[in-house]
Symmetry: C2
Subunit: 131 residues, 2 copies
Amino acid sequence: MLNLYDWLDKVRWSDHGLVAAIAQDASSGRVLNLAWMNREALARTVETGEAHYWSRSRRKLWRKGEHSGHVQKVKSVRLDCDEDVILLEVEQQGGIACHTGRQSCFFRRLDNGDWVSVDPVLKDPHEIYGR
Amino acid sequence: MLNLYDWLDKVRWSDHGLVAAIAQDASSGRVLNLAWMNREALARTVETGEAHYWSRSRRKLWRKGEHSGHVQKVKSVRLDCDEDVILLEVEQQGGIACHTGRQSCFFRRLDNGDWVSVDPVLKDPHEIYGR
């Protein structure tokens, strides 16, 4: 019988049942964030076309943008050679992936021995999430 | 006294002393690979300007390209908002990051419920590594 989830079995889940997932902006090419997925998060991502992750700290599934509206529409899903990292090509709604209100979570650059914020805050987090 | 390694202390190392590190090609924007770094790997990466990683399976430090010549020259080092993921912008020597001889390790794309290799092999791995 056809197993519709064979592709999920091909992923090498960690001992904790997770894989790292990188989101890359389809238009700018910026790497936006790295988060974790369990089997359900990856299945839902593919089924709904919106990025879902597993929060290790809160121990729950979350749909990226569920509070902020900054949903990630998934254009493609890739797997690496070791089969333990996912790469999502996404259309980032609102142009903001980071909870700090920046386009990308990678807004700090090492510069003369210090991490320096080099990307602008596009929207105040209080405005994004309410108080 | 000035501590030249303060920036290393600002990274949130996992319980195993590691962070995930993503390499992105500076010219094409392709995400090339995700590997792991311990403190020494990150320090050497910055000191030498060439990507060093920690192999979890072999339990040793490696300089990317030490056998293949496919060294990654580091143009910038970024840190994410949670301070536990590194993003390297690199010039990929030889244009090949993957041990399979492809530009990127993310050469498989999910397509109709299966992972399909969609990127060409640029150089036979036997040629890269010898037999």
